[in-house]
Amino acid sequence: MSVDKTQLIGYIAIIVIILSLASIGMKFTGFATTTDAGRVNITISSAAAINFTTDFVDFGTGSVSTGQPNATVDTEGTLTGGTGWSGANNLTLENIGNVNVSVGLKSSKLASTFIGGTNPEFKFRVINDSEHDSCVGGDAWTYTEFTLADDTVCTNFPFADDRDEIDIGIRLVVPSDSSSGTVPLTAVITATGTYS
């Protein structure tokens, strides 16, 4: 029996084609034609996230004027009864999460341990100036004394870009008999955002 070379090459070519197709994953199935839909799964959970974008208030160095019982300085430009201190910037708190939160504020120190002296004050207030209606609810529109426990300053602090920032003003009343020296006195402010 003689073998036709042309025929042999043809059949080998067919086998090579089938093997090539198989190697790239093509399979013979019972389906003539079919349509199928692809699907991409992703689940985004609600996440509370807040950040002090301006996180340091530095009043600098100053003193209570002679003869004054105390001096008042705040981040809104007030300085009475004292000299040297500058009106520092407000703290700025931003909601960087994807859910509205309530915000609590507290300090690591009370006025008595932070500043000392007779009747010191260490207060804050929420200012909605930069983005109106950022903070809804709460009770800190006027200067309120810091405590060691969370004080809810906003019951609803939105995450929407145009309403996700609040300024927090800081006011200190420094008595003439307060702690004095060259070492900076510092207190840490903690903001906590919670959603439920």
């Binding site: 090579v16 100053g62 020296g181 955002g193």
Partner: protein
Amino acid sequence: MKEKGLSKRTVTILVILAIVFVCLAIAYNYFDLNKKIPTDFGERSGSEEDSSGGKVGIVIAPPEIEDKGSVDNVSG
């Protein structure tokens, strides 16, 4: 008389197709194009609470005391 089996023209086409498919198969495997693309990105874990810290600093210098005294120049 009609030729039995594959004609020369068909064989030529088959050979060309075989070469093309072999090249495709080599490229496909070399560039790992059969890799499955993950389409399930899973779940981003959410947190119900987050905190951020700021700091307030002040230096309280001793009050400046002005005391205007006078020096008497007593000459004997």
